[in-house]
């Protein structure tokens, strides 16, 4: 018996009968249009087949090789955040009508997805305090790249200016995208307290730039002076793009839209999408209404049917590749629909009060940790600016070495900044969320104390 057939209805008998129906002799005849010379003589060199029992055993064993399973205390952030998601989220996204359907090209039988995405767009607008949101992008980094291209379309200057406190992988991605379309990418520096330096920004924009970009909270965890930087950007005819890689912060922080941002984009996985080693994640992008026709990605709009019933459709698709082809605002087709749904469900369960409480908890724990580590012998806090749930601590020894040492003791204390910033050997980026109980934080302080 052929294992494969458990996923394939047709039995050998069925296949032979169907072959006869279409007047063919052998299965091989189906491929007559493929030149003999190109047809494989040997079976593929891949493992398998495995029964489901073997498959589950194999994957359980592989999962155990991810040693974070041993229940280590973890303080990792840096673009991906550990959050608790209520069980309803996963129970609802595993409704097959949600996860096994395609892009809702046929609205009459896709209202579930369409209405949910319309609600997602609204939630993103409410969080960012902007007018429009698209239906999702691949992730925060590619969302930034697309956002810069949009800024360049709307405000062509051939140049963008980024804070040096952006997530380094976002910057790398932006450079990759922009290098092909001759848009210059320049950076400006930060102040001693760890925040972007408005003066440096003004100087760097100089002759002009299509956009000024900051991250808030920034990559080192510091909160930025969004209003000030908005003024700097706008005074110089540049748009302000605010990147948010930890959107839980929007539970207490002002919506950047209200603070002057023209575009707010970033990473939304914190809203219930599992870490899953970094993907699938959820890129989001919101902007002022003026950007409507420059927006990349899908948009869901409200309308009504022939009987006057309210309904939802994919709209403004003349922006998109399947209509506009080379003139499209982006090449994105498949996006992160299910992750957007996940975020929408997560946000509706938490709701207005819950999201705020969650944000407050994250902030309070991080502040508690920052103070605790500040008083650890040999440790110091290099940046004084206010934070959300991440901060940098300078250790008495190289951070990478500290990570190895504490790993043995069941703690992953954070991300060594040397991973991205060769100059910062002793700096560790520490993230604290609602899943780090106080006891873990206290243990972290004790263990770091042992390093000096």
């Amino acid at each position: 018996m052929d294992d494969a057939s458990r996923y394939i209805p047709a039995s050998e008998a069925d296949r032979q009968a169907m072959l006869r129906e279409i007047g063919l002799e052998r299965i091989e005849d189906l491929f007559a249009s493929i030149p003999e010379s190109l047809r494989l003589a040997h079976p593929l060199e891949v493992p398998g087949p495995l029964s489901e029992q073997e498959l589950q055993g194999e994957f359980a064993a592989r999962a155990r090789e991810n040693r974070e399973l041993d229940g280590r205390a973890q303080f990792l952030g840096g673009g991906a955040y550990r959050h608790f998601a209520p069980a309803v989220v996963d129970h609802l996204i595993t409704r097959t009508e949600f996860y096994s359907s395609y892009t809702p090209y046929q609205p009459e039988i896709s209202q579930g997805t369409l209405q949910a995405i319309f609600e997602y767009q609204t939630l993103i607008c409410q969080l960012t305090e902007l007018d429009i949101s698209n239906a999702s992008m691949y992730d925060g980094a590619s969302a930034l790249a697309e956002g810069l291209l949009m800024a360049e379309r709307a405000n062509p200057k051939g140049r963008v200016v980024l804070s040096d406190r952006l997530h380094p992988e976002y910057v790398q991605t932006a450079r990759t995208y922009l290098s092909n379309v001759e848009v210059g990418v320049d950076a400006f520096g930060h102040r001693p307290d760890g925040t972007a330096d408005p003066e440096a920004a003004r100087k760097e924009i100089g002759g002009g730039a299509s956009a000024l970009v900051i991250q808030h909270p920034n990559f080192f965890g510091c909160l930025e002076e969004v209003e000030t930087l908005a003024r700097v950007a706008h005074d110089a005819g540049a748009l302000l793009i605010v990147v948010v890689s930890e959107p839980v912060s929007l539970g207490i922080l002002k919506g950047p839209g209200r603070q002057g941002a023209d575009v707010v984009l970033g990473e939304g996985h914190s809203f219930g999408v599992p870490l899953s080693y970094g993907g699938p994640f959820l890129g989001f992008m919101a902007a002022r209404a003026a950007f409507l026709r420059n927006m990349p990605g899908r948009l869901v709009g409200e309308t009504h049917d022939v009987d006057g019933r309210r309904g939802y459709v994919l709209t403004l698709s003349t922006r998109e590749q399947h209509i506009r082809r080379e003139k499209a605002t982006s090449n994105i087709c498949t996006n992160e629909g299910l992750c957007a749904l996940t975020a929408a469900i997560f946000l509706s369960v938490l709701g207005r009060d819950g999201l705020r409480e969650l944000a407050v908890h994250n902030h309070a724990r991080a502040e508690y940790a920052r103070r605790a580590l500040a008083s650890v012998r040999g440790c110091s806090i290099p940046f004084g600016a206010p934070i959300f749930n991440e901060f940098v601590v300078t250790l008495p020894i190289p951070a990478a070495q500290a990570v190895r040492a504490l790993g043995e003791r069941g703690i992953v204390p954070g991300l060594p900044l040397s991973r991205y910033f060769p100059g910062r050997e002793r700096d560790l980026l520490v993230c604290v969320t609602e899943v780090n109980p106080r006891s873990e934080i206290d243990r972290l302080a004790v263990e770091l104390g042992r390093l000096a």
């Binding site: 209805p9 047709a10 995208y177």
Partner: protein, 494 residues
């Protein structure tokens, strides 16, 4: 005939919201006197205007009711051509949720993430074997990003040879993402016409091919479901002028285990794990678009790559010639995991059987519908077949009407009005997941619709009649875009 169920259509979250309701209890507060940490008010907001307030049961009902307005692969045939809507094995959802995988943080030290790294490595090896390429990057999040990544690698390749080029050639039958990706990668796009069989016109190509052409983007089998049987000659023409051959592998399901892009002269190609390798489409994503390359393009792969050293796996970031990154971290790992599980479950024989049965099903449909529906190109079909509505012109019934009427028969329509080279195209891809009985039911529906179109065209033109909503005003939606809910003027404020 019976009246529609009388329950009101599902309201929006924001309309269901009521002040003071909640579906979430705050996490344990074990930090002493958290109040002392309060942020300066200049940073903070008092409220998220209009944000919903609902209890858990209300949220569950809202989304459960919404879900029932969708069609899904688990409800029946989903013959969207070019989308390869196949069965998504349930066990994959279980495996992807193993805490060791779902909980793995992308910034974990490599020694704590060996399971994820090994899986990515093993998937790359499997794809190399299936496609006959030398290496793969798993980073692209979808097919379109795969195209862009591949084209950018080609660009880097030419640039490094001091031979920058301006043009990417794309057949007129190609998917819209191809030109869009080429432009996004800094190229000018030129279309090349298809010949009578719907394949690349080799002569036209020969005439056009020159030193300014960087890449030919070829979809194989093409969007008509036809194998580009002259692909070897095509590759020679392109290579002779120093160009590279990119293959859009969205249709790979047609020949897995039967033939390999790497043996066809392809230099670089993407494939869609969410098509050929069964990862769920999620109502629009996520997907994954790995890109395979031959040796000469390997230096340009995005960073990082996964390398095996002895028994350990590590991430290699130091790749000086790399194009860089196209996103953060390592790609849609959750999709890599599902695709790898699918490959292991099927094995070598199973993967071939998958392609064979997909092609068999498509040809069975073709044979049964040919006598009724107009077949614009009669070249042999592989995994899908494209019909047109020409035979119903007289009746004034169009492809859109046929698609909508299919809904009344309980089927999701096929892909319509694509490829663009077929007027009123109906592009049907059944995949291997369909039983003969399901195909026969679809054929019967198509037959009846053809009769209805002649007998009662108005009924067909006003279809669907049995769906939660009927035809929607898409023009109005675009003309007066309403893209978010806003609180009714003077309406209840939460």
């Amino acid at each position: 005939m019976e009246p529609r169920n009388l329950r009101d259509p599902e309201k929006l979250l924001f309309e269901l919201s009521r002040p003071g309701r909640r579906g979430f209890a705050p996490p344990p507060a074990d930090i002493p006197d958290p109040g002392r940490f309060d942020l300066d008010r200049r940073y903070t907001r008092d409220d998220i205007e209009g944000f919903p307030q609902l209890s858990e049961p209300e949220v569950v009902r809202h989304y459960t009711r919404l879900s029932r307005l969708n069609y899904a692969i688990d409800l029946g045939l989903y013959p969207l051509g070019s989308c390869t809507m196949k069965y998504n094995p349930k066990v994959h959802e279980t495996l992807a949720r193993l805490p060791g995988f779902a909980g793995a943080h992308p910034q974990l030290p490599e020694e704590f993430a060996q399971g994820s790294l090994r899986l990515m490595h093993d998937l790359e090896r499997a794809l190399v074997a299936i496609c006959g390429m030398d290496r793969f990057t798993l980073q692209p999040a979808a097919g379109a990003q795969g195209e862009q990544t591949g084209i950018m690698m080609a660009r880097a390749y030419h640039r490094e040879r001091g031979d920058p080029r301006q043009v990417v050639l794309i057949p007129d039958s190609a998917h819209g993402t191809n030109p869009a990706s080429a432009v996004l990668s800094g190229y000018r796009v030129e279309q090349i016409a298809s010949d009578a069989r719907g394949c690349v016109d080799l002569e036209a190509l020969r005439r056009r091919m020159s030193e300014d052409v960087a890449v030919l983007m070829l979809t194989n089998p093409n969007t008509l479901g036809v194998f580009e049987s002259e692909i070897e000659a095509i590759a020679r023409v392109v290579h002779a002028k120093g160009g590279l051959l990119y293959m859009d592998g969205a249709n790979l399901n047609a020949f897995v285990g039967v033939a390999r892009p790497g043996d066809m002269g392809v230099d670089v190609h993407h494939l869609n794990l969410h098509k050929t390798f069964s990862t769920p489409h999620g109502g629009g994503g996520p997907g994954a678009g790995p890109v395979g390359v031959k040796k000469h393009l390997e230096p340009y792969l995005p960073v990082p790559t996964v390398e095996k050293e002895g028994e350990r796996y590590r991430l290699r970031h130091d790749r000086p010639q790399s194009i860089g990154r196209v996103r953060s971290f390592f790609g849609n790992f959750g999709m890599h995991l599902r695709a790898f599980a699918y490959i292991l479950a099927l094995g070598p024989a199973g993967l071939r059987r998958m392609a064979e049965t997909a092609v068999l099903n498509a040809n069975y449909l073709r044979r049964k519908l040919e006598p009724i529906y107009h077949l614009p190109y009669d070249a042999p079909s592989l995994h899908e077949v494209v019909f047109s509505d020409r035979h119903l012109e007289s009746a004034g019934v169009h492809t859109l009407d046929i698609a909508k009427r299919l809904m009344d028969y309980g089927f999701h329509p096929m892909t319509i009005y694509f490829p663009l080279i077929v007027k009123g195209a109906m592009m049907i891809e059944p995949t291997e997941s369909e039983s003969r009985e399901e195909l026969d039911a679809f054929i019967a529906a198509m037959r009846r619709i053809d009769e209805e179109a002649r007998r009662d065209p108005d009924m067909v033109r006003t279809a669907p009649h049995t769906t939660p909503v009927r035809r929607l005003d898409e023009v109005g939606a675009a003309r007066h875009p309403v893209l978010r809910w806003t609180a009714p003027a003077g309406g209840r404020r939460a």
